[in-house]
Symmetry: C2
Subunit: 304 residues, 2 copies
Amino acid sequence: MPSTEFDLIYRHFASLGAGPAVDLSVGDDCAILKLEPGERLVTSVDTMVEGVHFLPDMFPEIIGFRAVSTAASDLAAMGARPIGMTIALTLPQADDFWVHSFSEGVAETVSLYGLPLVGGDTTRGPLTISVNVLGALPAGEALLRDGAQVGDGVYVSGQLGDAAAGLAILQDEWRPEPDAAAYLVERYERPRARLELGQQLLGRATAAIDISDGLLADAGHIAAAGGVGITLTAGAIPLSAALGGAGDRALRWALTGGDDYELCFTLPAGESAPEGCTRIGEVVSGQGVQLDVDVDTDAGYQHF
Amino acid sequence: MPSTEFDLIYRHFASLGAGPAVDLSVGDDCAILKLEPGERLVTSVDTMVEGVHFLPDMFPEIIGFRAVSTAASDLAAMGARPIGMTIALTLPQADDFWVHSFSEGVAETVSLYGLPLVGGDTTRGPLTISVNVLGALPAGEALLRDGAQVGDGVYVSGQLGDAAAGLAILQDEWRPEPDAAAYLVERYERPRARLELGQQLLGRATAAIDISDGLLADAGHIAAAGGVGITLTAGAIPLSAALGGAGDRALRWALTGGDDYELCFTLPAGESAPEGCTRIGEVVSGQGVQLDVDVDTDAGYQHF
């Protein structure tokens, strides 16, 4: 007997809806959340479609983890404190195993990010997941894309290219030694939204974005929004040891890999970078992103 | 040449993002909105899938209008003041005509409801639309499903069954005279979220829900949430004149038609109903929904 949308939602997700900002969670027509006095609401939506944003044979737990992490990454890029999310889940049939596994991946992110699931809609159709994240920011404060100033340093968190390498491994395009492969696949499958770093950068960074389309493309968004240019030093781009055997591909993945979800941001000269972040370039007058070496690459991943 | 998701979003939707609660709209990683002091955030998400929630040949403008209206209807059912929405749009190709027409339907709702479009994600895939609505409520006030008390009257807004009749006409299952057909099809294609009524009912109604699954099913949600029963008087259910020639089907559509998006609510004895609303029954001890006549019908529309 087919389950109803209500059964599906309640059974697997009902325990994920509690949080300090949640007055009323899943179960009524809407959820109710509270902000602290003087705070603003921050919101963004991200969609993942089977075969476009993830592999058809990806384990549902991974799909759930990635879908939330990539959406939460937009809160990180604004410097926002997470308060909740809704998930619109469209799937071909009411498959109890699938939904349970998916919900486990979501549950990991709820706990990891402190991002309760306060609402959802489950419908029948081709596998599609939209996550709408909700966060809070002190009024007048935000990490925007458009504030980079000539002379600022350009920084990234973590290491770049790992996720693209992990995808290449999953697609049998590259076979590094097993430990490296496991590390890189994990980086693709379980990207971490840099929520704590984003909040640390509030009031310090002049511009910020999360790297979802690739470093070149996303640094390009900062340059375009600020009416400035960016020069990058290829040798400064942080690469993990696991990419050691990848040769030229390592830099290409770091420049154009679209799934790292690290933050790229600009700091005024003299402002020190948070731990785990690396200076990779400088904001200059002009436009666009220039690299100090020639690399044969398209600029990032474009939908459509 | 394919457009990017950014081009698509900006070109067609950029003018729809302004509103009194909007500090920052489409264009950065997130939007920023403000609530008034003492208000709570209200949120809900609704998905529409081609072939499941709308006909494959439906005009894109109608799809846009319906998708937003059905989502906004959840704000109405909570008594919330609308402040903004995001739309996750998945479509098979970047069809400029389609997106333009869709955006015109969305634009009508933005204006009609005062519900600015503050964020979105456009991806390639099977046609799916998720609308996440955002609203505001005074702290401690909300129209919930679970407050119905024995002795309360049960009311509905407007007239029921029109949308189901309109769908039957579009599917060539019924051919009334042209004026009636035009009226009923319009009721299916352009349902109105009862946002003003919802706000009027704040502090007066003991329970409320919007009729998305059919009167019997949705009144059943009020009964179940409140631990009470509901008796309905078939002859009291308001029907439009356009259903005059439909015979027995008119009542069946009114009881189980899932697309009217009117409000069903309960008022304490002695509380007068707002204009345009009709008393159709009473809250009793017990459980479930009882009708005073026998009607051959399944109980509402269930996804899956």
